[in-house]
Symmetry: C2
């Protein structure tokens, strides 16, 4: 078996080669003294190697100081304090978890040149208990919509990894506070079954142990049909006694090998396209068996809010947007306590902009995990730059108005609204065996910021982006200025030149990068724009598919009204005449479409200009690699602009009032 030893670059944290890691720790005069509780000695290695690698071991501020790890059992599990008093610096925490987070915090302080400050106190406690990364890796080694190479865990239907890379990855995730990971794709096909087979479980232990050392617990996605495929039973009916016993034994076996496993992830297993589950069980019945068996081991069952509808472009009122709510909302309070529903942020499928899914916050008695996506399936696929934290912030500040005026998603997730529920955030991973981990160097920033945002939902995005630039590129003022200028609004720019006003889609199916306005229009994926010669958009109001009625009354009224609805989501909720004048932008709809695309591509051109200005200020390879990507992005933005504008010009027959070039 050939192990994937593809090279990879450093991220915000320097890499430490495994051969160094395995050496005995030799004395080092980095800090004057280091006091560490018993059993945490690997933390000392981490410190020595980090500082060696960063070439700052002669920094006099560090050299003269003493680092002390102090246990305080009254603190919360992941909480930590950092206290500096002249030449003494403490990390205070309940246990190893906090020490690690504190340590990486100190690393950042050192790299950001903030260590000189004589005295400071930092107190940190995560906003959220479940801060998760979700891999879509197949056992084959491919990654579903990965866009960054192949899996670092699997190859050729087997577990296959470079241990050095796994350790580095664990450190990366730990350094930004991620504490849960799902390492495989939750498909219900044959192959995902085998990961819970004994021989693979044994091989998984090594990965599991490394992650666990860094306070990261593993979830495994399973195949719901396993009792049949692995267990050779003639059924996988969750209410069948044999099936119940099979799952109990299987989960016992799993926990024998992986005693601190976080739990399992299941995608509902539909027997047909009408959302009927197998054996006509409902979601509660279907989830109970596994959730019960997991409960004994304090394991969590993540139940994915997926649906399997057979949409039809010919039936306009059967709206994909309605489906999650319709299928899950009435099950509130019926799931077992250790079941979490995993819910995509929007009702469609990770489009560049969607309204927040009304199911979020509408369930009073069900634990929920909000799902983001950073592999950029519909947002440039790591060819085009699209910095996503602004999008996430946008989602977190969405006000559901379910309970009161403060019912934002952020407050929901923080547990301020329904106190008895548990919440978490997960994000589809964007890493693979690419050199930069992500395909686009700048996409690394999406992981970093994701971790930091869900650690602290109130974090300032501007500072956060600058911190990433400083840690991963350098401290040069012009570099920071230009790169943050390029990145900060890149999501908005991407939206402008692709699919504005909440339209979504307009790409080639199964590809989702190449513009194709009618790509999904006559298909059964449920993503339509309904453009004809008069108007465009989806009527999801009370007069249309009634999707708006799933929201709180306040939001319903807002979204139903073409003049009150968020302009950026106008065509998600309304079918609008090309001649309709937008209230906020004060131009006609067709003119908005033209402007948006022309402006989007202009902005990408400006990025090229800004990027060229830092040519000699940053690493040459990074400069060139990003430059090539930006060239591709500019070409892509021009292609989008030409095609979409031409498409709508041909349909509407209305000219651009600014007389820019639109091909007829």
């Amino acid at each position: 078996m050939k192990i994937n030893n593809k090279k990879y670059s450093d991220c915000w944290l320097p890499n430490i080669e495994d051969n160094l890691w395995n050496k005995k720790v030799i004395k080092s005069n980095i800090f004057k003294n280091i006091y560490i509780p018993n059993n945490y000695s690997f933390i000392k290695k981490e410190i020595i190697f980090f500082i060696k690698k960063e070439n700052i071991n002669f920094n006099k501020h560090i050299k003269n100081s003493t680092l002390i790890f102090k246990i305080n059992i009254d603190m919360n599990n992941e909480e930590y304090y950092i206290k500096k008093n002249n030449k003494l610096i403490w990390i205070i925490s309940k246990n190893k978890n906090g020490f690690l987070y504190g340590l990486y915090h100190i690393f950042r302080i050192i790299k950001l040149n903030k260590y000189k400050k004589k005295n400071f106190i930092i107190k940190e406690i995560p906003s959220l208990k479940i801060r998760m990364i979700n891999h879509k890796d197949f056992l084959s080694g491919k990654i579903e919509k990965g866009h960054s190479g192949n899996s670092i865990f699997f190859f050729n239907n087997n577990i296959n990894f470079n241990i050095e890379r796994i350790r580095y990855y664990s450190r990366l995730l730990c350094s930004i506070g991620i504490n849960y990971i799902c390492i495989n794709n939750s498909d219900n096909n044959l192959l995902s079954t085998y990961l819970i087979n004994k021989n693979l479980l044994i091989q998984l232990i090594e990965i599991y142990n490394i992650f666990y050392e860094y306070n990261i617990k593993i979830f495994i996605s399973i195949n719901y049909k396993s009792p049949m495929i692995l267990g050779r039973l003639n059924t996988f009916d969750p209410l069948n006694k044999k099936v119940i016993i099979w799952w109990e034994k299987k989960i016992e076996q799993i926990y024998e090998y992986l005693p601190n496993l976080a739990g399992l992830i299941v995608s509902p297993c539909y027997k047909n396209k009408n959302n009927n589950l197998y054996y006509d069980r409902n979601h509660i019945e279907s989830s109970n068996t596994i959730a019960n068996a997991l409960n004994f081991f304090n394991g969590i069952l993540i139940w994915e809010c997926n649906i399997n509808n057979n949409y039809n472009w010919k039936i306009k009122n059967f709206d994909k947007a309605n489906c999650i709510f319709n299928n899950f909302n009435n099950l509130d309070g019926l799931f077992l306590n250790n079941v979490f529903l995993k819910i995509k942020f929007g009702p469609i499928d990770f489009q560049v902009r969607e309204p927040v899914s009304p199911i979020l916050g509408s369930m009073y008695k069900t634990s929920q995990i909000l799902e983001f996506q950073m592999n950029q399936e519909y947002t440039g696929q790591q060819i085009d730059l699209c910095w996503l934290p602004l999008k996430w912030k946008n989602i977190l500040y969405f006000n559901t108005y379910y309970k009161n005026k403060n019912s934002t998603i952020k407050n929901l997730i923080l547990g301020n609204i329904y106190k008895n529920n548990n919440y978490g955030i997960s994000c589809v991973s964007n890493i693979g065996d690419s050199f930069y981990w992500t395909n686009h160097f700048l996409s690394q920033s999406n992981i970093f910021c994701y971790g930091k945002i869900i650690w602290n939902l109130n974090i300032n995005l501007n500072n956060l982006l600058k911190e990433w630039i400083k840690l991963s590129i350098n401290n040069n003022k012009k570099v920071i200025k230009n790169i943050s200028k390029i990145m900060f609004n890149s999501w908005i720019t991407y939206e402008k030149y692709t699919s504005p006003l909440g339209l979504g889609g307009m790409v080639e199916p199964n590809n989702n990068y190449i513009p194709n306005v009618d790509g999904y229009e006559y298909n059964n994926f449920g993503i339509y724009h309904n453009a004809n010669r008069y108007s465009v958009g989806n009527n999801r109001t009370s007069n249309g598919t009634k999707f708006t009625e799933q929201y709180s009354i306040r939001n319903k009224i807002k979204f139903n009204d073409i003049n009150k609805c968020y302009e950026k989501l106008l065509l998600f909720f309304h079918n609008v005449s090309y001649k309709h004048k937008l209230k906020k932008s004060k131009v006609t709809l067709i003119q908005y479409i033209y402007n948006s695309h022309f402006n989007g591509k202009k902005e990408v051109k400006e990025w090229l200009y800004l990027w060229k200005k830092i040519k000699f200020l940053i690493n040459k390879k990074v400069y060139n690699d990003v430059y090539k990507k930006l060239i591709l992005q500019y070409k892509n933005s021009c292609r989008w602009c030409d095609i979409v504008n031409s498409y709508f010009y041909r349909k509407s027959g209305i000219k651009d009032i600014l007389n820019r070039k639109i091909y007829s």
Copy 2:
């Protein structure tokens, strides 16, 4: 190396297993006596096995008669007579070639129950000297747009064949009069180079010998860059002395192993998208070197009339249709005598309907091969039934008017117009390692009829189709009636429900089966429909891209005039308002589009009805396999109808006057 031993079915000619073939011929009293000239004894095997396999060896008419092969050296090379006089039957021919054709003719007579007739004389001579099949098989074993499985010649970048299957295939082709075959794809990528490497040439001998036994000569497609790739020269400039010598030696080597090779096929090798050939040589210079070297061995060089333009949907007047003529017409008379230009029938790319390419017949002094295609790339891909002989006949009867009122393509090919040129017809193969050879059982008929049509350009299509049904299915009257009703107009039906009026395209690129009206519209393939809210179609008249000016004055005037232009090609030549009333059909354009699609799908539904009626009259497997395909075709026709009508309704805003269901 694993040999592809996939099963395959009989065609119009029964198969004879190779193990039988290798046995010594034992006496058989099929004919009372068989008199065969020396050296043609394998013909006797052919007779015995054919009749055994067909279980007609006790047919008293045959049993009592004597078969005599008689040589007449005054006859033409492939000519033959069959003479029956009571109990004596002669095949008279100059040599083995005519004997084989005569023999297969007698087989057909026997199978068609026409042998009882006491006396008859048949005289046959082929219309054409070059009757060719062109394979697009890659050395990898894949077939470019094959739609019928993998190659029967190659696998895993090597020659790899089941000898029994090759022999059967040779007999099939010989039985319908095919006398040339190209067995590989004429791509200029690395791999096609290696077929002329010594080790592969040696392996090729066995295939070559089998084909040669059946009067079929092989062409090999080569890579123009071979001097560099195989010869390790630092150039492949055709005027470089080293390159000239390399080709001379290489061709000498090829003819050493394959002394009766027909010749080589070359696709022009462009250095860029603007049709500049490498080293800035023109087509004459580029072809001369190889043609010269081939000439010594009486080898033919087939030079493919391909172009490599980078079309652009944004530049309307740069018309793909113009390109072949513009790039080749001015080279008339400059190619060496043994060079044939291979020309696709239409100026675009094997669309369901195109006008005949104006380059055909416009060159007075250049030998030409007209190219058809039966793999059905754009005509249903052997999922949908599309019987192509009607299309071919349509092309052959196209009048170029270049010289006089009889200047049809048929007369051109027959050499009646420019007597000094040589002509041939080639067709892209539709066979692969599928069970039926073709993916759709009924597609077998396209090969059979292709061979028979190019043998005799005046053949009656109706009788021909019936002959195929009798030979390949059975003699039942209802079977013949229903199947020929289904098949005869299937090309017209396919055109109706897909892309009528010469539009072409409207499919997903790289797939070409799934309907997608805008699929090619914003791409660089050169296939556009230009639909906007007022009109649709390509203006290729003298006021447009001027494509019509490439035709004879008579055709130019006809095509330029919206009222005189063939209605079936209206949108190929004109951009027409949806409200324009068609002169012939007497409905508006938009109504024609609606009618065409509704009628097309209705016709497919009728086929299903006709097919079900013969359920118990034909082979069960054939019945079921074709039935499944027809169901798919019906679904496909509905999908096309819904999508295309909806697309044009949304654009035009004009309702169907018959009020049929069009989705808005």
